[in-house]
Amino acid sequence: MENRDRVTHHTNHYQGRRSKSLDQRKYQDGADVCIVGAGAAGCVLAYELAKAGLKVVVIEAGPFWNPQTDFASDELATRRLAWEATRIVDGANPLRLGHNNSGRGVGGGTVHFTGVFLRFHESDFRTRSVDGVGEDWPIAYEDLAPYYDKIEREIAVSGPKHYPWGPFKGPYPYPVREPISANAQLFREACEKLGIESVVAPLAILSAPFDGRPPCINRGFCNQGCMPNAKYSGLIQHIPKAIEHGAEVLSDCMVTQVLTDGSRVTGVLFDHDGATYEQKARVVILAGFVIETPRLLLHSSTPHFPDGLANSSGWVGKAIMPHSSHDVYGLLPEEVRLYKGTPVLALTQHFYETDKRRGFARGYTLHAHGARPVGMASEIATQRADGQFLWGRQLREAMLDYNYYARITLVGEVLPNPDNCVTLADEKDEYGMPLAKVTFQYGENDRRLIEHAVVQMTQLVEAMGGKAAHVVADTAHLMGGCRMGSDPVQSVVDSYGRCHDIPNLYIAGASIFVTSGGANPTNTVMALAARTAEHLIQEMSRQNI
């Protein structure tokens, strides 16, 4: 009997939608659009394009998760939601990848993201003009505003009635979350003491029932996959709807090459269970995130495109950016219990815009941020900002106070630098593809920003009545690597994600960011994808592609 559950029925290879055999694919003879990667961007595109009547195939390297049987309330067992395949990391500040920033499986990074859902501000799109750093985007905030509105409505973002920073003042479509956790309360009280405005975080997490999904139960395991389906992910929202509209999702299928015929792409090659298949399509959209998209482009070089596809500018893989994401753990006299509630329930963007007196350009967001034992212990043991390790009796005694810590986390802008990049390593993976080599180092401005934020976080912890006990050096999110621009010599794609070099190849997702902003990126990822979808539907109906 067909399983009719709205999410899990797609995990079965069911009648008429997806055959168990990849030789009987729905669009075997050619699709209109082939999307590589079912992450934040890929899922929005699949839904919008299928709804418009296009024949859409989504090819996803990872599994089609079933929240009830694949997720768990456990940190260690849910690491597998991430892209764990080995990447070589290099540079003065080698990045922590895997669960820290890379998703794998239908839903991509949205399956284990924290759900903080912010817009970029006007200045984020014009950092060169305004502050003389970074680069301007080829679009302005106003170009994206309608798509932010659309996405926020479509996934029922919860948030405050009034939002104090940036051009969007609220209200959010769904009521603000309530109650908030002790850690978030302490953060807001401390902010108030120091004259810093704060809000309850806008979240892609339900505060009331929506579309057959229940509100959040505050179990706190957003980074382990939401079991009740209260948190948005492409897996539970856009993909099921895309399939209803006729899209086919090929999970556990790793795209290993983009195929070209002269100057156009014709489709992709993918591997499933050791066998290679071809998927033809009129348009290919690469939505494989900041590391895999450049790896695929560089690996797909041909005599016609000797330096990799879409790389005549040389910018493929360049200027990748994480957010700086130091944490301060404050030890308090009273219990806080960081495990309770949605991890981020309060934030401030008081320090978001450039303030010349601070001695650096751009700014950041601060989050009241929960923590579970594995995450906290491994951070304070192996990622300390002072470069020391914590182990033995010191670690045990620090963790016995687990319930007495508050935690604040930085999301800081990191300026683009072409030396921070994805290249191909010599070593190969099981598909014969070279491993990605990811090189990263902070610049002087980035370091000053971090120093400033650590001082603010320390003062906030002190205003709570505690003292800063552990400062952890970390990064979050990734952006860039195939940046957009109007100049084909200085960028890989235009503002719609269309490759300057290849008219029927598109790139979507965080990889097309020009700068990182100082806010969590996924609202912008999804808004850009919705904009690309609208453009593609027009172009394809006019037979322009």
Binding site: T69, F71, A72, S73, D74, E75, L76, A77, R80, W83, E84, A85, T86, R87, I88, V89, D90, P94, R96, L97, G98, H99, S102, P179, I180, S181, A182, L186, I217, N218, R219, G220, M227, E334, E335, V336, R337, Y339, K340, P373, V374, A377, S378, A381, T382, F389, W391, G392, Q394, L395, R396, E397, A398, M399, L400, D401, Y402, N403, K437, V438
Partner: protein, 199 residues
């Protein structure tokens, strides 16, 4: 910093009937770890278990056996290591060399295997691995002591703080689906959560 648990009578496992079946099964397996190993030799496994004890200041063998089992499984898994620093050998090689390096250094300094050292000696040797000042034996010419130390500490800490006995020590509420939390604000606890000693 605390010398002892704030919650001596709390046992998170008492709540397991309220957990979803998938999570319950995962945590239950940690309470009864298997002793056979697939990648580590018997000697290596004993060494890992001893190192884990020193790194976490723990003596309960049931917890340390799970930590060792977790590391053994990760070494035998085809899944990647998320990231590896340029110049550092792959995890299997790093462990094999690092573990030999520990015993080579132990013999150089104390003429005995690491397992046979007194705890202060074990701590001192590990401190030298951590700082990179361990005697330069053949293994340490092939891998940097700090690279091994960081990976080992990371793996040990990840497994150790996944054990329900350790969750109980620190008063962590543990798995919380389908029940969730009702009382999340300052000073509030749900009836089943850990309560401070005597309250």
């Amino acid at each position: 910093m605390s010398r002892r648990s704030h919650y001596p009578t709390y046992n998170v496992w008492d709540q397991h009937e309220h957990w979803d079946p998938h999570t319950r099964q995962i945590v239950a397996q940690r309470r009864t770890p298997v002793i056979s190993h697939s990648f580590l030799t018997r000697q290596e496994a004993m060494l890992v278990q001893t190192l884990a004890g020193v790194l976490t200041d723990e003596y309960r063998q049931e917890v340390l056996t799970f930590v060792t089992q977790h590391i053994d499984q990760s070494l035998n898994s085809p899944v990647g290591e998320s990231q590896r620093k340029a110049g550092v050998p792959e995890k299997k090689v790093l462990y094999r060399l690092g573990l030999s390096g520990i015993n080579e250094a132990s013999h150089r300094l104390y003429r005995r295997d690491f397992i046979g050292l007194k705890q202060p000696e074990q701590e001192e040797l590990l401190r030298r691995v951590e700082k990179g000042t361990v005697p330069e034996t053949s293994a340490w010419q092939q891998v940097a002591p700090q690279d091994f130390f960081q990976k080992l500490l990371y793996d040990v800490v990840n497994a150790y703080y996944s054990h329900p006995l350790v969750w109980s020590d620190i008063g962590y509420g543990g798995p919380a689906y389908p029940r969730g939390y009702v009382r999340v604000e300052k000073g509030l606890v749900d009836p089943w959560e850990a309560k401070k000693d005597g309250e």
